[in-house]
Amino acid sequence: MSNEHGEQVTFQETRQVEQGDFATAGQIAASFKNTLKKLGVASPVIRRIAIASYEAEINLAIHSWGGTMRLIIYPDRVRLLVDDVGPGIENIDLAMQEGYSTASEEVRMLGFGAGMGMPNMKRCADAFKIESVLGKGTSISMDFNL
């Protein structure tokens, strides 16, 4: 779908996450959810996006040195882009396994780092892509069909 100038109609919302920012965890998911609801996106899709963004938000706070989360809404799909600056993921296959976690004891004591974040994201999304460079950072792209 496109507007009168032939450009595709999209809406973007970009939010920053800082390292160790657990206190406000969940705010981005809530904000994204609110936006999607106003746009009239069906609630089962909203819930999947909310869970995926919540997991991503927590992951950035735990593992990265900070990053951005970008929600891009097209008339037929929603894309969630998560980019961080950080140590990168050594073994992506391992990271995708349920229960595998490299989170510190301190983080686990906060109730996070159960090793379900990445599998949860993949399960929620209709398409899931991940790229990671050691010592540089990680990028995840998730698509949700409308």
Binding site: F11, G26, L39, S43, I46, I51, Y54, L146
Partner: protein, 428 residues
């Protein structure tokens, strides 16, 4: 798929409204706007919680409930006292005093809502054994149920499929009275004595009700306390059936405590309830068995339509339930059995709220304009424009409900600009 509500209890008394922004800033749903000097409610988003009633300094926000003499619409009239009613009286040692006094006010009979609460508790205890969904969410507070239908529709399968004590009381009261006196159900009216407007809204909702009318506690308090001083004649004497735990539902936490389960979370205050529902929706509380959310601070004793201060009421209720506990040791009540025939009247469906547009491309375009406009405001969320936040104003402008110069800062800029132009003109 989505349902439509037609009735709301919370109303504005236009003449009393001075157009201040108190209710605007307090409303948890951001559904109040001040336009042309008067507050108005965007009813699509209102959950009838009554926070605006509690906070309006000019008493301009009111709840519509039924007048006491409306009970005479029915040949047979049953009072359904909320346990919060008992908490209005200091030094009350027996619920029986209230029950009997209600009969003196024109009711043919009285059915304790606390008794229905006992049955709901027994039933939910059973549901927690047989049902897998976690956490199960209480269906008792109608403001919370409407909130879930509007803002957390994905959590609807978590809401316990059991009637609220008010509804169960209405149904049982009529069934029992009809059987005992041989009169048709249609001739019996059940009247709930309420601490809150959400209960009033719920009996007139899209989902129907077993209750025929709702009387505010503050409207009946005076008459009732006078009646309580009258002697009770022996032949009409009523005795309580409900346990102290059923009565304790009036306090937040009372419902959860009656489940005899450690893994229950009870939360009061609508903002706190919203916060916890977010957590549940994010999948953070899947290990919780039961969530009890009360819209009002303190639970039903903190309702907008009560007479007594919530903290005093809470204390009165504590003393009363201690008396009841003692009494139950010497005069045990029959055990309460769970029931499997007290499901909700109809499945809970999502409510639409306010969408930007039915067309998603158009909605996206509007959202972009809202985002761009929001950035041009100062972000103080001062409310002077009559919208609760700068973002809400941007949305109102895009939706044609407001204009840019409603913002005092934009207006100031515009005036400055005009003044400069005037000066330039005079210098020509």
């Amino acid at each position: 798929m989505t349902a439509k509500r037609i009735y709301h209890s919370v109303k504005l008394e236009r003449d009393r409204c001075v157009g201040c922004t108190t209710c605007l800033k307090k409303c948890p749903m951001e559904c109040i706007r001040v336009r042309n000097g008067k507050a108005r409610i965007l009813y699509e988003l209102c959950i009838d919680c009554g926070v605006c009633i509690q906070n309006c300094p000019h008493h301009a926000k009111v709840a519509q409930t039924d007048p006491i003499n409306s009970i005479y619409r029915f040949k047979h009239r049953i009072a359904l006292p909320a346990p919060t009613l008992y908490a209005q009286f200091r030094n009350l040692t027996s619920v029986d005093t209230v029950l009997n006094a209600l009969l003196g006010l024109g009711f043919s009979d009285v059915f304790e809502v606390a008794r229905a609460a006992d049955i709901v508790s027994a039933t939910v205890r059973e549901m927690l054994k047989t049902q897998k969904v976690r956490p199960l969410i209480s269906s008792a507070c109608p403001a919370v149920v409407t909130l879930i239908r509007l803002r957390f529709p994905e959590l609807l399968p978590h809401v316990a499929d059991v009637l609220s004590p008010k509804e169960l009381a209405g149904r049982m009261a009529k069934e029992e009275y009809s059987k005992a006196h041989g009169v048709p159900i249609e001739e019996i009216g059940a009247f709930f004595i309420t601490p809150c407007p959400a209960k009033m809204a719920s009996i007139h909702s899209d989902r129907g009700s077993y209750v025929d009318g709702v009387i505010a506690i503050q409207d009946i308090y005076g008459l009732l306390s006078a009646q309580m001083k009258q002697p009770i004649s022996e032949e009409i004497k009523r005795k309580r059936h409900a346990t102290w735990q059923g009565v304790n539902w009036a306090n937040y936490g009372g419902e959860g405590a009656a489940l005899d389960n450690n893994n229950v979370l009870s939360v009061d205050g609508i903002h706190n309830v919203i916060y916890v529902l977010e957590e549940i929706e994010n999948g953070r509380l899947n290990d919780l068995d039961f969530f009890e959310g009360s819209s009002c601070v303190g639970g039903c004793v903190g309702g907008p339509l009560v007479f007594e201060n919530a903290f005093v009421a809470k204390n009165s209720l504590r003393k009363l339930t201690e008396h009841m506990k003692e009494d139950e040791k010497t005069h045990p009540l029959p055990p309460v059995e769970p029931r499997d025939d007290i499901h909700l009247r109809a499945p809970l469906e999502p409510l639409p709220g306010i969408k930007l547009s039915d067309n998603i491309a158009e909605a996206i375009a509007k959202m972009e304009r809202i985002e761009a406009l929001t950035k041009t405001f100062k972000g103080l969320d001062c409310g002077s424009c009559g919208s609760p936040t700068c973002r809400a104003l941007a949305e109102d402008i895009v939706q044609g409900r407001a204009n840019e110069l409603d913002c005092v800062f934009k207006l100031k800029e515009k005036v400055e600009q005009l003044a400069r132009q005037m000066v330039d003109l005079t210098n020509l």
